[in-house]
Symmetry: C2
Subunit: 314 residues, 2 copies
Amino acid sequence: MAAAIALSSRGRPESAPNPNVGCVLVQAGRVVGRGWTAAGGRPHAEAVALAAAGEAARGATAYVSLEPCAHAGGRGPACSDLLIAAGVARVVIAAQDPDPRTDGAGIARLQDAGIDVLFNVLPAEARRAMAPWWTRRAEGRPFVTLKLATSLDGCIALADGASRWITGDRARAHGHLERAQHQAILVGRGTFDADAPKLDVRLPGLEGRSPQKLLLTSGSAPAGWTAVAAPESVEGVDSLLVEGGARAASAFLAADRVDRLLLYRAPVLIGGGRPALGDIGLTDLADAHGRWRLVDSRLLGSDRLDVYERIRTI
Amino acid sequence: MAAAIALSSRGRPESAPNPNVGCVLVQAGRVVGRGWTAAGGRPHAEAVALAAAGEAARGATAYVSLEPCAHAGGRGPACSDLLIAAGVARVVIAAQDPDPRTDGAGIARLQDAGIDVLFNVLPAEARRAMAPWWTRRAEGRPFVTLKLATSLDGCIALADGASRWITGDRARAHGHLERAQHQAILVGRGTFDADAPKLDVRLPGLEGRSPQKLLLTSGSAPAGWTAVAAPESVEGVDSLLVEGGARAASAFLAADRVDRLLLYRAPVLIGGGRPALGDIGLTDLADAHGRWRLVDSRLLGSDRLDVYERIRTI
């Protein structure tokens, strides 16, 4: 199942607005098919894995990160019907599909056809891998990642604004990979005016993945950019990467619209530089605790990346 | 040898002003004696290990983190003579002693007695374990550790000064352990006036280890404290822990008097709070690079501790 969930991440962000799902077919201990949701949402992961397995799917176990859909659409048959037709013996499901057209109906259809179904085996992990889709579906807003690249003392630039470069090549390459995994990127007006950032993905093979460009501004946006008046106004995307500067970052944090923090930290001290954040509305230290959980930490060259997730109790 | 170097750390800071040395005696693959420099500098590590081994020292190999001394003093015989008298067959030395009374003379005396000597096997590691003694001996100044406890965005307090508590219990306990390993602790005038810190070691069994208290001030110091006018004016100790605030930390960094950074970071965001550092004299980002190397990183509860060392080319 972990493999199916890992595969599901390959569908991000191109499966949007459909969920990114992963599927692994196992026959007598051997993987006979794998798949993930394709760009635009079709074909689904199960269809890809079944096509790869061919006759080997008969009697196999299918591991899927999300409940197979129960609704046939203009773009293809329902996955639960595909699994039944292929003769799989068993389906293991990480998380149930909250879409009212499926939500248990996929499981029921499989069981009615005599297939052994095990479900909700790794719901939290599956939801994390599909966080953008899940957040937009549950809350009608994008899943927001905030990127901060700072010195050890939390500065994003010298007092005169100089910020090239605080972090090194590998951290910057990782930042480009994050861009490729988002549908949209946002910067604030100050950063736009100062840096005129391109926000494209400069990684071999991923140049085509450059996301939509959003500008947080009360005014209008130049050609190629979309103006966004407030953190609450971002629409039409599942995933958003906020790249700076301090004012845009603070606005998203003050609105509690940040779900994930990427903290790239270089082994340098600046002292008296520009802080990563301005006021985010905190008045009592006790309120700051219990909001962020470290989920990943790694060295990128001599820089450190710490990834935190917002602890939400929804 | 790694074991001998690890043992040497147990002598810190109480062996000062003598070097903290570790010694392990191995006979036919078994450890027959261990020792480290005692409080006040005597007995030496070798004497302790030889006493523990007794007759088992005959024919043994002695691993010592620093070249055995060649000079007998009023407080005991030279360690090289002790090793010869005990009949050890072989001496392995991590680093040569820069003290002109020994500096190769210990090795020569052992060799003249027919003992097989291997030396300079782990000089950098031994020097790191004896960094306070080594720094004061080589540069006539203490080895300085700067402690910073910050939020993820590099703040040490809210804008109104509130800083209790940013980090958690385990990080604070680790801070007390660091206090116990230093001969002196320094705070700046602002921190003294605002917090009246006790700077004692609140750890069971280590209460007696509370170090000297220094106050960075152009004025005088209250009872129990020693006034220090500038980072360059600290005298009489091998090791100094700078605990804050931002102005004291910045003064030591601006003077390039910090050798080691302890960065405790809590998983909280403050935004618009008090920065960890003020101006440290940096005008070009390029100059900030290549100065600090990460040497340890660990989680203390939900806080992270990163330890950096100043890269010096002496």
